[in-house]
């Protein structure tokens, strides 16, 4: 555990593979920026790896101030022990107050190992993070500016908010797709800081024999928010609206069969009886009539918003929010409202 350091930075573990940053790490940069601004401190990113041309600049464009770069050919493939050593070493050296990881396969392997070595508190799979003053009910002591780590528990029927009072850094993994990706700003300035650290050969005990990476599939099942478009979108060009709304909200793109048959988007996005069955926290059906075969794949969603010009469209019967209107007008308004929400 490190000392409580109120000037400590807000850090992101910059997960990358083969020189490509993980989407989740890019999303986290925006969150780190926001938390750092609230705390009045700098946002940092830890970037270990082998060939990483341009990655530090990308992190800066996403909102990071200081990028700590650890370049070593032996770090080309992720391995827990050396990566954990890098993080623990830098945490001890720079005493950040918050360290965030994507709740990815890599993040969920690495973060608990680091938290254990640091004897720090750690919450897995958060869906949101906030800064708030918290009173310890036992000691009545008020802890200023703590990180609230918000996550669903017990199958998602409960939202738990976790804090750690004085076991720092405050650590969490954050689910992919729950934080909207910030627009990159290529003009942003930041520091790229090479960190010389000697990694003993004994840390590299695990030998990679073979590796097979699959094309990233459309992750409809795992998405917390899905924005789906139907025949009412009208054209492949208009379907951009669906992609834009999904990006603004941090969600995946879904479709009805009419949209797939119309060539607006690939079949792997289809929701319904002959597509994927989904159950996200929020499903937005835009220009979808709500045929029974479509509803079968989405009506278990926790919240449903329907947008349709026809007030009698069956989709409204399974919706929580209904907007009778034209998607071409309504979606831009939604994107605007999302951008202004904070």
């Amino acid at each position: 555990m490190i000392e409580v350091n109120r000037a400590g930075e807000v850090w992101v573990f910059a997960e990358q593979q083969d020189g490509v940053l993980h989407d989740c790490a890019l999303e986290l940069c925006g969150k780190a920026r926001q938390l750092a601004d609230e705390l009045g401190v700098k946002a940092g990113a830890v970037l270990p790896g082998a060939q990483m041309a341009g990655l530090a600049e990308r992190l800066i464009a996403q909102g990071i101030d200081n990028v700590y770069v650890i370049e070593d050919p032996r770090l080309a493939h992720f391995q827990t022990l050396p990566y954990a050593r890098v993080l623990c070493h830098l945490i001890e050296k720079h005493t950040p107050q918050i360290v965030l990881f994507g709740a990815t396969a890599m993040g969920r392997d690495l973060a608990p190992r680091v938290a254990s070595e640091m004897r720090a508190g750690m919450t897995a799979d958060c869906t949101d993070l906030e800064i708030k003053d918290v009173e310890d009910p036992r000691t009545k002591e008020v802890h200023k500016n703590l990180l609230l780590q918000i996550r669903p528990a017990f199958g998602g029927n409960i939202i738990a908010t976790i804090v750690n009072y004085d076991w720092w850094p405050q650590m969490a993994t954050v689910r992919e797709g729950v934080i909207p990706l910030m627009e990159p700003d290529a003009a942003r300035q930041g520091n790229i800081i090479p960190e010389p650290i000697k990694l003993d050969d004994s840390l590299f005990v695990i030998k990679l024999v073979e590796r097979h990476v699959e094309e990233r599939r459309v992750n409809l099942k795992g998405a917390r928010v899905i924005v789906a478009g139907g025949g009412g979108i009208g054209s492949r060009e208009n379907f951009r609206l669906i992609h834009n709304l999904a990006a603004a909200i941090g969600g995946a793109v879904g479709a009805s069969r009419a949209a797939v048959d119309g060539g607006y988007i690939g079949k792997e996005h289809q929701v319904g009886q002959t597509g994927t069955t989904v159950r996200p926290a929020l499903y937005i059906a835009a220009g979808i009539s709500g045929a029974v075969q479509h509803r079968a794949g989405m009506e278990e969603s926790a919240k449903i918003i329907a947008i349709n010009t026809d007030k009698d469209a069956p989709i409204f019967s399974v919706s929580h929010y209904g907007i009778v209107g034209d998607v071409k007008k309504v979606i831009p308004m939604m994107i605007k409202a999302l951008k202004e929400r904070r």
Binding site: P112, V178, R211, L282, I305, Y321, G322, I323, M334, A337
Partner: protein, 282 residues
């Protein structure tokens, strides 16, 4: 759930965490192929002895239950510390197998944290144990967007995916034998029920006698306290748990008719605001 937001596990039935069955199966397969013994370790209230009996039914050689009131309210850091002390107390080992994650919290933290406490490497998300040769385990692990095969030296901690194998069922012959396996607390409760009128000393003596008998016939499930595993109490239970539950909210879903939102900027802003407030949107 208790008022302070921690879960009252004593009020829940002891259930076998699904991926722990896969972890047990992997351990049994490794033993069956290469020899050795399988010790099942669990930490929980006395009724978690049920889980250890279930392990014995399936083929485990020994069961150990860490049960101690002072371990209550442990978060993953404290839990992994206690489990690592238990592993050390069992003695020399080549593998520690854990489920990838438990279904109550889905944290998937206890495995990696336990590996760190033991000072050994970890391989997460095992899908297949290909072989073990000269102290090196060849493991296929699945990381979601693909898979890799790695060679890792023992001693090693491995977390196991639900897709790794089909856990064997309980063996009828073993059920016959091990349904009588007990922890000391269960023996004591039994003695108390049977000899209610006897003095405490007499009951203790009878408990000790029965425990000895069970041990002699290989039917005693070890019951260890935090003292038995040499645990530093400041690292256990509430005192050793950095994370605290600050707030718990139940999500209530109602779906009676829909809210009509006017297709105006104000209407949509209001809807987005509601979705942020109820945490549908981050």
């Amino acid at each position: 759930m208790r008022d302070d937001g921690t879960v009252n596990r004593a009020a829940l039935p002891a259930i076998f965490n699904p991926e722990d069955l896969n972890a047990l199966e992997t351990a049994l397969e490794v033993r069956d192929a290469y020899g050795g013994t399988v010790t099942a370790i669990s930490m929980g209230p006395p009724k978690a002895a049920d889980i250890l009996r279930a392990c014995l039914f399936r083929g485990a050689d020994r069961g150990v239950l860490i049960t101690d009131r002072r371990a209550a309210a442990s978060d993953t850091l404290a839990t992994s510390y206690i489990l690592s002390r238990a592993v050390r107390t069992v003695g020399r080992f080549d593998f520690v197998f854990a489920g990838r994650q438990a279904i109550d919290g889905d944290t998937a933290q206890v495995g990696p944290q336990c590996a760190e406490k033991l000072g050994i490497p970890q391989v997460t998300y095992l899908e297949q144990m290909i072989h073990v040769k000269d102290g090196i385990a060849r493991i296929r692990r699945n990381f979601g967007d693909g898979w890799e095969v790695v060679d890792a030296p023992v001693p090693l901690l491995v977390t196991v995916l639900g897709s790794a194998n089909r856990p064997r069922p309980s063996a009828a012959r073993r059920v016959m034998r091990y349904k009588r396996a007990q922890i000391e607390a269960e023996v004591a409760a039994e003695v108390k029920a049977e000899l209610g009128s006897a003095s405490e000393d007499e009951r203790n003596a009878e408990t000790a006698r029965r425990v000895k008998e069970l041990a002699a016939s290989g039917l005693l499930i070890d019951q260890w306290s935090l003292d038995d595993i040499g645990a530093d109490l400041s690292r256990c239970g509430l005192a050793g748990s950095p994370t605290k539950v600050y707030r718990v909210q139940s999500i209530v879903l109602t779906k009676e008719g829909y809210t009509e939102i006017p297709a105006t900027e104000e209407g949509i802003r209001q809807m987005i605001h509601e979705l942020v407030v109820d945490r549908t949107l981050g």
